[in-house]
């Protein structure tokens, strides 16, 4: 938990380093064919340093293909510069220059770092973000600041509720703690929800974040909607409305071979051992003890005349295994929070993998029963 002093410190830093913004029209941005290479644009007759990300976002705004962008990044050729110049010209002429944009700059790096269409800029200031967090803390005594992340023009205030929430379906040992993150990117304000899964009360073991609310406009209506959404979260004790439903889906849906394989890969690739032979033996051991269904599913696929190695991810996502999605999440969580014989580079990573799997909007085999309709 974060102290008030640390909170204030973070608040001051976030305000001080707040990204600068300027509304501009597309026609005001002047480019040369070397602008991108040299890292400059011209704005109101001034030469303004611009980052690679800025040009990338400008290209995307002007519908310039990702391929050309990547090509520039790799080889630095002038094709993109020319294309950008002509696209700006084309847009400006076709629409009379009437494309309102919002330019974002990093005051510390002293360069413009991003650009979005003005109507896509939906961000409240860092000061308001922190004030909003303070209001939540005042209104909900059980809410605490878990941490504050910042960097790259981004600020994230993570607030966690102290209540432990259980779900009947999972038994009495399974409890969760829920929280929200108030997030400011350079162009967007959003609220993410996250949860910690507490297994056998041995501490936080799984964390996941999903965007639960995105500010649409930084005007009164948009801000009122943000407050309304926070109020709605508060009413449910910050338990995401869809959480119980998701839990139901995770426990009743079989994990696909694709989902299991991804989980297995994330674990075995993380094993720490120099000797390749030993490493291989450890991998097999981990699979046998933690993911036995993986082995049996592969055997079943072979017996049906298919070689799993040649199956695509899409094909694997249609093959069921003997474990539920929840079982898989459980396994990853357990591995991420217990000391085992085998050593891992970073076992905490499994918690995030499990959380991400659980938070997937759709599990591969969720609608499998309809295949036979």
């Amino acid at each position: 938990m974060l102290s008030q002093a640390k909170f204030n410190e973070a608040k001051t830093a976030a305000i001080t380093h707040e990204p600068l913004t300027k509304p501009v029209m597309l026609s005001e941005i002047k480019l040369s064919d070397t602008s991108q290479k040299d890292g400059f644009i011209h704005l109101n007759d001034s030469k303004v340093p611009a980052s690679g990300a800025f040009f990338k976002q400008l290209a995307s705004l002007l519908n310039i293909g990702q391929n050309l962008n990547s090509k520039f990044e790799k080889h630095g050729d002038s094709q993109l510069g020319n294309k950008l110049m002509s696209a700006v010209k084309h847009y400006t002429e076709r629409r009379g220059g009437d494309v309102p944009l919002m330019m974002v700059a990093d005051r510390d790096q002293k360069q413009v770092t991003g650009i979005v269409k003005a109507d896509k800029f939906a961000r409240i200031s860092n000061e308001t973000l922190f004030k909003t967090a303070e209001e939540i803390l005042n209104e909900v005594p059980d809410m605490h600041i878990e941490s504050i992340d910042s960097g790259g023009g981004r600020s994230s205030i993570n607030l966690i509720h102290t209540s432990e929430v259980g779900f009947e379906r999972l038994g009495k040992d399974e409890v969760f703690r829920f929280g929200i993150s108030l997030v400011n990117t350079p162009t967007q304000t959003q609220v993410d929800d996250f949860f910690y899964r507490l297994v056998c009360a041995n501490g936080a073991v799984a964390k996941d974040m999903t965007a639960a609310f995105q500010l649409k406009q930084a005007n009164a209506a948009g801000i009122a909607e943000l407050f309304q959404s926070l109020k709605a979260y508060g009413k449910t004790g910050f338990v995401p409305r869809a959480f119980a439903e998701r839990l139901e889906r995770a426990t009743s849906t079989r994990a696909s071979l694709n989902e299991v394989q991804r989980a297995v890969d994330s674990v075995v690739d993380n094993l720490k051992h120099e000797d390749p032979e030993m490493r291989k033996r450890l991998q097999e051991g981990v699979i046998s003890s933690h993911f036995p269904m993986y082995k049996s599913t592969l055997a079943r696929v072979f017996s049906k005349g298919h070689n799993p190695e040649f199956l695509t991810d899409k094909q694997k996502s249609f093959i069921k295994t003997g474990m539920s999605v929840w079982d898989l999440v459980n396994e990853l969580t357990w591995l991420g929070s217990h000391n085992t014989v085998e050593e891992y580079e970073n076992r905490a990573r499994f918690k995030a993998t499990g959380g991400a799997l659980f938070a997937k909007s759709n599990y591969d085999l969720e609608a499998a029963q309809f295949a036979t309709v």
């Binding site: 007759d45 001034s46 340093p49």
Partner: protein
Amino acid sequence: MIGKKEKQVRKYFLQEFGGQVPAGKVLDLFQNFQTNPLGEGISYSLFNGVIKKLRGTQTLAGVSQTSRVVATPTAPAKEVELQIVKIGSMEFPEFKCFKTGTLLDQLFSDHEDGGGIYGGTANIVIGESGVGKSTVMLDILAKIKRIQPEAKILYISSEMTRNDLFFYYRKMPMIAEVPTLLLMDYIQSGFVKAIEKAITGEHDVILIDSHQDIIVKLKDVLGWKSTYAEAWLTNLVIKAADGMGKSIFCIQHMTKGGTYVGSTYLKHATTSMMEMKFGPGNRRYLEFTKNRRGGSLVNKPLFFSMAAGEVLYDQTSWDQLIRAEEVAHTEESRREELESEFDDLFLSAQIQTLPVEEPAADANKVEVEQ
């Protein structure tokens, strides 16, 4: 052969104008005719037909040259005396202000501490069917009576019968003390008089439910043209509000697409327009889309619900909205600050400006510090 009703009209012109048709619009003549006992039960179309006959007769027979001449559109209009008065020298009525004791008072007026419903106002209330127009308005009347027992309130219902009202009363016992006039009682006789008397009578706050329905009845039952009926009722409302200092509420209808149904004349002449709508999750809310007494709170939704027999306004979401307005205002200032800092950092005169064609310097070596 002249019918009984035509005889009535002819008798009227004989009594009032010596058998001649005076100059002026037929609509105006009809309006005056309606105030005469002979006007009862005569439709506008019959009246107009008789006038045509009378005027034709007069012309053909040369009975009354005068009458024909005055009826000509090119005839000189009646002399009008312009009354131009300095605003400060105008005579203003003593405005009464009525309070409901709810959050709604603030929306009605920002000229009075705590708000309230000013006298001398004509207000339109619109909303789709079932949104709660009559319920909210009856609640307002009942609450005014509760806070200011001396206030003379009146509910004029053209649509509802006693039986319909019973169910409102059962739902909202607090409306027991609301004086009510059921226009349906006068549909056979005295309809126009009843409306006129009720609107221009002794009451301070009058709810007309509904403006459109009265027009329909004037049209269908009495045979008035709808434009005439509309103008007549609107003039009456404006006369009562502006000339007599009353506060009049006219419930109006909306199309399913949410468009206002009614005359533009009424829409423009009124002090305020309050709209009731279904919001997210079918929550009901009201908002003013126009308010000459409370401009600062226009277009701000106030959610409401029914509980314990009365309308409750959602203070929490209202406070949130007001707070959001304040925050949005602060945000605007902050964006201006950030833009100003941007300009200072990148666009100030101290930054070296170069022509577009000129080769750019190494990005890492550019000095933009001031």
